[in-house]
């Protein structure tokens, strides 16, 4: 049966003390470096524009909480709305009337007016929102 030698005991005590000291120093530093989460009220709908604000065959970026959305007035007079964040690397997309598509200027990602990827690097389609016209307001809401 081996008995813990005095040397081993001292080494163990020293290393564990130094380890604890390092943990006590670095744990608050690492936690400090990660920013606290700021609570946000979950917004489910927003007034994206007023009726008559958009010309036919054009688009507009609107604020949906902290994120951008895109509202498009199609040639037939109907509205479409999507998240404006490209699914590739997060750039803000725009409506290209000349190509009749939603386009991302960062890496040439192209989406059709259903949010589906036509070409380019985006891996996923754009999330579509509901659009309803209430009185003078164009209200965009998240799909259930």
């Amino acid at each position: 049966m081996s008995i813990l030698s005095r040397r081993k005991f001292l080494n163990f005590s020293l290393i564990s003390s130094l380890g604890s000291l390092a943990a006590v120093i670095f744990y608050p530093i690492i936690r400090f470096l990660m920013p606290p989460k700021t609570p946000q009220a979950a917004q489910t709908e927003v007034v994206a524009a007023k009726v008559g604000e958009l010309q036919l065959d054009s688009g507009k970026i609107f604020k949906f909480g902290n994120e951008p959305g895109i509202l498009i007035l199609q040639e037939d007079g109907t509205y479409k709305a999507f998240t404006a964040i490209c699914t590739h690397l997060g750039c803000i997309v725009q409506y290209r009337a000349d190509l009749n598509i939603i386009w991302c200027g960062c890496h040439n990602g192209k989406y059709d007016l259903f949010g589906k990827v036509i070409s380019g690097p985006p891996p996923l389609p754009l999330t579509e929102y509901n659009v309803t016209v209430i009185n003078d307001n164009i209200v965009v809401s998240k799909k259930a």
Partner: protein
């Protein structure tokens, strides 16, 4: 008693002076590449001086950053010049680092016993890219905002820790004023401290080991003509610095660095956007790679490839066994040529091919 005698009487620096007096630099047909390192050092010093000057007026918040740079450029006397020199020398420095790194690579200067000189140099190169990336955001303009958004989003693709890295870099989920404050902290405090330590090591080992000579000349090393480091080589170096300073001043005066328009998180990415020229090859690669290759997302593959490439490049001195034995390693020369061609071609494509 002379002041110098008083000083030397107290501090044993005579041995250092003797060391520099006895230091020689070999002269041969590739000697010109010895000056690239000093050139980088000079541009770094310009960065430090102009950076400190800009600090006196710059304000690192989303509300005030753009306006403070505007103030520097329009109201502060010679502010436009100082900021222009800072931006131009930053770009020239990255260019000089590329040249210095590839010159040392093709001359196989990384071989034994200079492995750590290469590794420390590579770390410096990566840190200077970090300087470029963090400094680019500081004027808080549209281009910088989008570049930072894409650049930081790429960290999200790193397996397991990507999300944490993204939040750490951005100071939150989105690129915001918190990101600007963080990048400012990295740019003026964290990165300079790290650079100081690694640069001191890099320069120290170069002084201890002296200059490397190409493999083919290694055998005749003792027969090569020698140039005293002090003052001859140093004077040559400084002459180059003087020319560089002239070029820098001319560039800054004739082509002042633009400020662009203030960043707005709610406007679409502008047409024709691209990052700083030294990141264009990565940007173009991201554009070229399809969204999916088999079951892996394209951008994940790009980030993975980039990481493997950087690790390979960092470990070259330990992988190239032939050069360590004094035998020319054609494989590594070919790999280097392919990398250079790839960087040049994709960079040109990034500028020439319309979106």
């Amino acid at each position: 008693m002379k002041l110098s005698d008083w000083f030397f009487d107290r501090y044993a620096v005579q041995s250092w002076i003797d060391f520099f007096r006895k230091k020689y630099v070999p002269v041969h047909k590739h000697s010109i590449w010895y000056y690239t390192g000093g050139f980088c050092l000079f541009l770094f010093m310009v960065q430090v001086v102009t950076g400190i000057l800009l600090l006196l007026y710059y304000r690192p918040t989303a509300e005030a950053a753009f306006e403070s740079v505007q103030f520097i450029m329009t109201k502060v006397r010679f502010g436009w010049l100082i900021r222009s020199i800072h931006s131009w020398s930053a770009n020239l420095l990255i260019g000089a680092l590329f040249i210095h790194m590839f010159a040392k690579f093709f001359l196989k200067s990384y071989r034994k016993p200079r492995e750590l000189t290469w590794v420390s140099g590579m770390l410096l190169f990566l840190i200077f890219l970090g300087f470029g990336f963090s400094g680019y955001l500081l004027p808080w303009n549209e281009l910088a905002y989008t570049a930072t958004k894409v650049g930081t989003e790429m960290t999200n693709l790193v397996p397991f820790v990507g999300k944490y890295l993204l939040v750490f870099l951005r100071g939150g989920e989105q690129v915001s004023g918190a990101t600007l404050t963080r990048f400012f902290g990295f740019h003026v405090a964290v990165l300079p401290i790290i650079v100081t330590v690694i640069l001191a090591f890099h320069l120290l080992v170069i002084q201890i080991q002296g200059m490397s000579v190409p493999i083919k000349l290694e055998e005749h090393k003792s027969k090569l003509k020698q140039l005293p480091f002090f003052p001859d080589f140093m004077l040559h170096d400084m002459l180059g610095w003087l020319v560089a300073f002239g070029v820098l001043a001319a560039l800054a005066a004739l082509f002042p660095w633009e400020l662009g328009t203030k960043a707005d998180p709610f406007i679409p990415t502008p047409i024709g956007i691209h990052p700083e020229w030294y990141f264009v090859f990565t940007y173009q690669t991201l554009k070229l790679v399809p969204s999916r290759i088999f079951f892996i997302e394209g951008e994940v593959l790009v980030v993975f490839g980039l990481a493997v490439g950087i690790i390979f490049w960092l470990l070259v001195p330990f992988l190239d066994r032939k050069s360590n034995q004094g035998i020319p390693a054609k494989f590594f020369t070919i790999v280097g040529i392919i990398i250079v061609i790839y960087i040049i071609v994709t960079t040109i494509m990034g500028y020439v091919i319309p979106a």
